[in-house]
Amino acid sequence: MLTIQNLHVSVEGCPILQGLNLEVKAGEVHALMGPNGAGKSTLAAVLAGKEGYEITEGEVLFEGRDISELSPEERSHAGIFLAFQYPVEIPGVSMIQFLRAALNAHRAAKQQEPLDTAELMALLREKAALLKLDPAFLSRSVNEGFSGGERKRAEIFQMAVLEPKLCILDETDSGLDIDALKIVSDAVNALRSPTRAFLLITHYYRLLQYIRPDVVHILVEGRIMRSGGPELAVELEEKGYEALLSTA
């Protein structure tokens, strides 16, 4: 599904990713771990098409198609979803308005008719229940006045509504208490399917206790230094980055 080859990315002339290679197949869950400044969020931003990130070398293929020239909305229509580490507030736009616009844009890209209000509301209520969100939440402005945990749940709620093929979760576990982490993890696990892949960016092993990954990668200084099964995360938890990488 996702193939990244020798990816080099700079931000304002400063190299961040320096020859990153990654292969994610449909149905797989990959965890990407690494110390602060390793380039984890840069990779997420590049995949989502955020501005300000310059690919200087290498390529990113999604379902065999080079996505480097696609706009963020085209990537979304193709099936890429980024759950933001710091979701922005959008005062004046309710979650209903926002997701109506997003869903109908996706449907328009597939030459489908827009959803009517009853269909939309039924879908939103069903997905809100998955995240144990109060239906009143749908009438609130996007992320405005949300707690950190509510914002992260709102991101996963949007993911559940849009049903992307590739879900990138950028430190979704940060700021979540244990109960919220369990709700979010249950929702992610419910969305796992043979046609969908996940890239979980995280600092903490505890998320991987709830969402069991197929592959764990250690990203350091813009390159993947080690990859392995779930046991790699356990080893990392025990030893830390420095000791783990010195024994590699």
Partner: protein, 403 residues
């Protein structure tokens, strides 16, 4: 309209011409004899040329283009027209009364003119006076044609009455509207002032003053997507304890358009409350001006006053001037104000786009969302719908072509 295409005078010549033109209309005003004498004197002393040499007038008009003075105006005609949409109000029509015969509260509280405009308009306009005893609505839907149309309206609300005002003035030339409200003890008034892009593209200058007695309340909603030059001066005097005023304004300011709000809220008694909430979205070549002043008298302890203006510059070469001012002479008050001016936040756009919303749609959503804080406070949904429709339609055109 030909006159609009061929400005022929300097600003000072135009000011002299308009002064003379208005002074010649002096017999029009429908005022009681005692006021008539006083206003005749003020009219004859008024001179619009002082706008260019008296410092306080220069300050008031500092950011406002006054090109309308350069036309050799003649007197125009006022024509009653249908409102642009069906008014949702269910209140009966306010009673029109003869200002000469009745001792109207609004005529008693009509402020002494503080500018030559107020002097000229108070004494020379075609005047109509209305009274609401228990409940009533006033709908002013008038189109000015062929030249200058000066209008004086007054509305008096009896104690504990309820009223609504709907203002739809429009003009292809120059309309000068002077409107004074007297809101009696415990009375409530809502005023709606919507204008839309498909209306005439002339010059509309409104001076709205209000005098509020004990526990009276006034809410105003100024919604503008018009393409005219539009200056609105609002002067509210909270004369007695418990009086409250809430002023709202949301504007889509198109290219070559001026949207100008000059506001003065005067707290004259303790326990009075005011809130000014204004937002403007400005296209390239458009100009948004907000001058808001809160004045708290020495005796007006426990005043609660708030003022906010936010301008969103849609493109480069959009212009916004904001001048919030507080003058406080009491020591136990709560007065806050805030002003922001800026472009659309890139991270908001990115967020919407990563959810699949195309760039132009995302920009329109954020434009409506920016103004929504004000629009959603309007108690009638038809006004929301009309405003959002016009904004969405106007933003589909590039600024240079949107006029």
């Amino acid at each position: 309209m030909e006159m609009l295409k061929s400005p022929a005078l300097t600003l000072e010549e135009g000011a002299a011409h308009l002064t003379r033109l208005l002074q010649e209309q002096v017999a029009l005003a429908n005022l009681p004899p005692n006021l008539r004498v006083q206003w005749d004197k003020w009219v004859q002393e008024a001179n619009l040329q002082t706008l260019f040499w008296e410092q306080r007038h220069k300050e008031d008009w500092k950011y406002t283009p006054m090109d309308f003075l350069r036309f050799p105006w003649d007197v125009g005609l006022a024509r009653r027209v249908s409102p642009p949409f069906s008014i949702p109000s269910v209140l009966p029509y306010a009673e029109e009364v003869d200002g000469v015969e009745k001792d109207l509260p609004a005529l008693r509280s009509l402020p002494v003119p503080s500018s030559p405009w107020e002097a000229l308009l108070g004494g020379t306009s075609s005047a109509h006076h209305y009274y609401i005893r228990k409940e009533g609505s006033l709908i002013f839907s008038v189109r000015g044609e062929g030249g200058v149309v000066p209008y004086l309206l007054t509305l008096s609300l009896a104690p504990h009455s309820v009223g609504e005002v709907w203002l739809f003035p429009s003009t292809e030339a120059l309309m000068l509207l002077r409107f004074h409200l007297h809101v009696g003890q415990g009375a409530c008034l809502k005023l709606f002032f919507p204008s839309y892009a498909n209306e005439a593209q002339g010059y509309l200058y409104t001076i709205l003053s209000a005098h509020l007695e004990r526990e009276a309340s006034l809410e105003t909603y100024d919604l503008s997507t018009s393409r005219e030059w539009r200056r609105t001066e609002v002067k509210v005097y909270l004369k007695e304890a418990g009086a409250k005023v809430y002023l709202h304004g949301a504007a889509y300011v198109d290219s070559k358009t001026t949207w100008d709000q000059a506001i003065r809220v005067e707290h004259g008694a303790p326990h009075t409350e005011s809130n000014q909430l204004f937002k403007s979205l400005v296209r390239a070549g458009g100009r948004s001006i907000f001058q808001g002043r809160i004045y708290v008298h020495r005796d007006a302890q426990k005043t609660n006053a708030y003022q906010s203006h936010k301008a969103l510059l849609w493109e480069k070469n959009a212009t916004a001037y904001s001048r919030p001012q507080l003058e406080i002479f009491a020591d136990d008050v709560r007065c806050t104000h805030g002003v922001t001016t800026g472009f659309l936040q890139g991270e908001m756009l990115t967020y919407l786009r990563t959810r699949g919303i195309p760039l132009e749609d995302a920009r329109k959503i954020l434009a409506s969302a920016f103004l929504a804080e004000v629009i959603e406070k309007v108690p009638y949904e038809i006004l929301h719908t009309e405003m959002y429709k016009v904004i969405s339609s106007c933003l589909s055109s590039p600024a240079e072509l949107s006029r």
